[in-house]
């Protein structure tokens, strides 16, 4: 099996489909033609830039540049986590809590995978570190965002139940237990679902990519399994850390529920 290189004519041919979409939009008066074209151009520019950046990163293979790229990815993912919150924590916590939970989980799991299983030489080789971190980060981001969203909404919804328990002399962790448990279930169910559907409903992108580039399917499956397990671990760890820290932040040292530490909901 060989890897088939694409030339720009091949891509232009595929891009013609977008032009057909735009033509259809004009013909049916959907009003989407401009957005179709802009989105397609955006994607082309973004991916080309990423390709150039990755090429440069791989060429220098420096731990500093790899680290900087990883940090940038994490900071962008943190913004995304914050943007998905209906009720953010006020102040630095709004950005910092989700981002640090996500960063800790994604870095731990990535380094664990690189250092003990994939073992590239050197271990921080960006050709392995950056794509693996990206896949883990993307999923951990979803788990952390979902966890924090569910937690803050749950605390507002369960306020009477939580405060009734506090009023009876229960500690903050006892009073928050029900809400935290529901939240963690909600945050982790997607991992279970995606693992059980993988292979039957969807072929994972990384595995498909490896097969297209000529890797034996069994070897590609082994890589996919490894990544899926790392993703499951990272997502669970990130969600757990964010939800625990969030639940702690929602209460103070006098075991009060402090919903005043959340911003007003956005619509």
């Amino acid at each position: 099996m060989t890897f088939i290189t694409l030339d720009y004519v091949d891509i232009a041919l595929a891009a013609a489909l977008v032009l057909i979409n735009a033509a259809l939009s004009l013909r049916l008066e959907l009003g989407l033609e401009r957005r179709f074209l802009i989105a397609a151009v955006r994607m082309a520019v973004q991916l080309t830039l990423v390709g150039l950046v990755l090429k440069a990163l791989f060429a220098v293979a420096s731990p500093v540049w790899t680290g900087l790229a990883a940090l940038l990815m994490i900071l962008f993912a943190g913004r995304e986590v914050m943007a998905r919150q209906e009720r953010r924590f006020l102040g630095w916590w709004g950005y910092g809590l989700g981002t640090s939970a996500m960063m800790t989980a994604a870095l731990l799991v990535t380094v664990f995978g690189l250092a003990t299983q994939v073992r590239p030489d050197p271990w921080y080789d960006p050709r392995f570190a950056i794509p693996i971190l990206g896949m883990i980060l993307g999923n951990t981001m979803t788990g952390v965002a979902l966890g924090m969203h569910t937690l803050t909404n749950g605390a507002v919804r369960d306020r009477a139940a939580i405060e009734a328990q506090l009023a009876l002399g229960r500690t903050r962790s006892e009073a928050m237990r029900g809400t935290v448990r529901d939240t963690l279930r909600t945050a982790m169910i997607p991992i279970v679902n995606s693992m059980s559907a993988t292979g039957l409903v969807a072929l994972p992108g990384m595995m498909t990519g490896q097969i297209l580039s000529g890797v034996d399917p069994i070897e590609a499956v082994k890589y996919q399994l490894l990544i899926s397990f790392l993703i499951a671990g990272g997502t669970a760890m990130g969600a757990l850390a964010a939800v625990q820290a969030g639940a702690r932040r929602l209460c103070d040292n006098r075991h009060r529920l402090r919903l005043d530490r959340l911003a007003a909901p956005r619509d």
Binding site: I162, A164, L166, L168, G169, T171, D252, H255, R256
Partner: protein, 198 residues
């Protein structure tokens, strides 16, 4: 003895009063004048300034859960965290006699919270607080949704507790109830709070 000295928080005038063991102070005033905020501050469910002490123990010198076991707050709209009333008690059998005294059906323990009336839920929340045998009770309109007969049953139970030494801070709109139970009255009016004899 519960001593509240210059307690203040946003939305409530500065409040000072004291209640002896086995006594009751009624808190009265228009809606929105800060009566519930007062109870929540005394229970330490919200931050506040000023001094509160119970039997010479300052609020901040004991852990908050311990403070709230001594001074139990029952909200006007109590919260529930399980499906049935009995799941909210460590020993529902022991609570049966109180349930009977408050005219609740013996089978109410296994009913669904969502299907109970407001009045039933209020009485169950009161029992839940009483089972912890607190030194003081902070009650927010405990008979707000009850008819005359049931109100009398609740007051009888409260009077028995007072005879055993439990103190009560009672938010009520019912002047009759205030004169039946309270030894003194804390009135919230025009942004001031004043204590008078009942």
């Amino acid at each position: 003895m519960l001593i509240v000295d210059k307690l203040c928080r946003p939305g409530m005038p500065s409040v000072s009063f004291d209640v002896g063991s086995g006594n009751c102070i009624a808190v009265m005033g228009p809606s929105g004048s800060g009566k519930t905020l007062l109870l929540r501050a005394v229970a330490d469910l919200d931050p506040s300034e000023g001094r509160i002490s119970l039997d010479n123990t300052k609020k901040d010198s004991v852990a908050a859960p311990e403070w709230r076991r001594r001074i139990s707050y029952v909200a006007a709209e109590p919260g529930w965290w399980a499906a049935t009333p009995e799941a909210h008690f460590s020993d529902w059998t022991a609570a049966q006699s109180l349930a009977a005294a408050l005219l609740l059906s013996p089978s109410i323990g296994s009913a669904l919270i969502a299907q109970l009336s407001t009045g039933e839920r209020l009485r169950l929340a009161l029992i839940r607080a009483l089972m912890g045998a607190p030194r003081f009770l902070l009650l927010d309109e405990p008979t707000g949704a009850l008819d005359t007969t049931t109100t009398e049953a609740v007051e009888a139970v409260l009077r028995r507790r007072m005879a055993d030494g439990t103190g009560i801070v009672l938010v009520t709109h019912d002047t009759g109830q205030a004169s039946r139970l309270a030894d003194s009255i804390l009135r919230f009016e025009n942004g001031h709070a004043e204590v008078s004899a009942a």
